[in-house]
């Protein structure tokens, strides 16, 4: 079942309300402030961010600032068992699967950091319309006249 969350706006900042918690949204990740303003107040389908997890060093301890879910194959392993030595030299750009295997980090159960799903944000893309139009012309479902009207 799809993960759903509500987009909220508060004093110019945007949040996703999901699973009884709030996560702040970076407008740059979802196409800008205008996109989020249109979605504000709506219940939307969510996906998790497709970026590595982010860690920071605070008071000589590694602190995970934000998680993404590991690929499906490793998710249960990370959620249930993973406790590995910490490698402080591994930066946030290290692919998370490799990084996780070498750290003493307890991963949380389930992912954090949700954003509205791309198909909620972008609508139908022109290239998709053109490809479909081409199919319908080749299949002779629409006439050449209609095709040219739309291509023009």
């Amino acid at each position: 079942m799809a993960m759903m969350g509500k987009v909220l706006e508060h004093e110019g900042r945007f949040f996703i309300e999901v699973e009884n918690r709030l996560e702040e949204l970076d407008p740059m990740l979802v196409g800008g402030v205008e996109v989020l303003q249109k979605l504000a107040g709506q219940e939307v389908e969510l996906v998790t961010q497709d970026i590595p997890w982010i860690a920071g060093v605070m008071w000589e301890k590694v602190r995970i600032l934000c998680y993404i879910p590991p690929i499906e194959h490793f998710r249960d392993l990370f959620a249930e068992h993973l406790v590995a030595p910490v490698d402080l030299h591994a930066g946030p750009a290290v692919p998370h699967v490799y990084a996780a295997a070498s750290r003493r980090v307890k991963f949380p159960r389930g992912p954090l950091c949700y954003i509205p799903a791309p198909w909620v944000i972008r609508g139908v893309e022109d290239v998709i319309r053109k490809n479909l139009l081409e199919q319908f012309r080749v299949d002779e479902i629409i006439t050449q006249e209609v095709y040219e009207r739309l291509i023009g």
Partner: protein, 350 residues
């Protein structure tokens, strides 16, 4: 009386439907207009408001309600020669127009004259012209609709495709939506057929089964994911027939029960009804105050308060969501608000 709140503390609606004409160039099998069914004894006054009368109606309504949107319907609203003037007047009054049309008369000239701020809702029943034409009742109607939609897209107008699901076309939904996207639709309105008195006798041939509707809902989820197509479901799909919670990404519409989200409807003579499906005339805008009807008309109160007998044992959560199905369809088909609409009655009996 205030135009924003009334005696009952209920906000006034902002959306209305204007049926501009009873005339139509199609003979749709799924049409539910009350004036087609002699047994409903709908007022036979065939008067069609002139342009001046339509403008007067809009001004009167704006005095009585915070009007934001008006959907122009019929019959076929584009059969009116003054449609561009009506749309233009709505814009002048800061009202967003929606044109509900079969698309047959969406010529480049009509589109150019009406497209500013207008949303066009054009019926596309199948990617197969023979199916569309059969449901629309007129040969050539598919060609006309496709050409009309292409004209809207060419002019960069805002286009929504309307798919009415019946037993004859439900299996075409995916390909039809793809065609709608190719023709420029930004969204799709999906409605199961909502029967009326005039076509109740076609229920066996037209009314989809729950399994057919469920297949369509899964298709709509996929269309949204695959193409980003915005989907709205307007006619109620009762949760006692289909578990709609399985489709969280779809937006389901429920009966607004003559409340703030309702869309009271004015027929071509100015007669007022609760919605475009309702057969009951509550008054006329030329002599009656809309607020008086909205807040005090006994039929409106009954519409809000009456629950169909079939809902007596229903889970209160479902009941609150669904509002008792489409009471207007129940009234058309069974002559009472106290029954649930045929989609539930007939599917339960099967």
């Amino acid at each position: 009386m205030s135009a924003s709140s009334g005696d009952a503390g209920l906000a006034l609606p902002k959306t209305f439907v204007l049926e501009l004409t009873r005339r139509c160039n199609h003979r749709c099998l799924y049409c539910y207009t009350s004036w087609q069914a002699p047994e409903l004894a709908y007022p036979s006054n065939g008067h069609e408001n002139s342009l001046a009368e339509v403008k007067e109606l809009i001004l009167r309504l704006q005095e009585q309600a915070p009007v934001e949107n008006i959907a122009l319907s019929g019959g076929e609203p584009l059969l009116r020669e003054d449609i561009a003037e009506i749309v233009d007047f709505l814009r002048q009054r800061d009202i967003a127009p929606v044109l509900i049309t079969n698309g047959a008369r969406l010529s480049p000239e009509i589109v150019d004259a009406t497209r500013e701020e207008t949303t066009y809702e054009v019926t596309l029943l199948s990617h197969r012209k023979e199916i569309h034409d059969r449901l629309a009742g007129v040969p050539g109607s598919w060609d006309d609709a496709v050409r009309g939609m292409a004209n809207v897209r060419h002019a960069r107008g805002s286009l929504v495709a309307v798919f009415i699901a019946t037993k004859l076309n439900y299996m075409d939904l995916h390909r039809t939506a793809e065609l709608a996207i190719a023709l420029g639709a930004d969204g799709m309105m999906y409605n199961r057929i909502n029967l009326g008195a005039a076509n109740m006798h076609l229920a066996d041939a037209l009314l989809p089964t729950p399994a057919m509707i469920e297949e369509n809902l899964a298709t709509l989820v996929e269309l949204r994911r695959q193409y980003g197509l915005v989907v709205a479901i307007s006619v109620v799909i009762e949760p006692c027939v289909i578990d709609v919670s399985k489709y969280p990404t779809l937006h389901f519409g429920w009966c607004p029960l003559a409340g703030p989200d309702s869309y009271f409807t004015f027929d071509p003579a100015g007669n007022i009804r609760i919605c475009n499906h309702s057969p009951t005339v509550l008054g006329n805008i030329n002599r009656d105050d809309f607020r008086e009807i909205y807040y005090h008309h006994p039929y409106v109160q009954a519409f809000r308060d009456t629950w169909p007998a079939e809902c007596a044992d229903c889970d209160p959560k479902l009941k609150a969501m669904c509002g008792g199905g489409c009471k207007a369809a129940a009234e058309q088909c069974y002559g009472t608000l106290a029954r649930v609409d045929p989609f539930v009655v007939l599917n339960r009996s099967h």
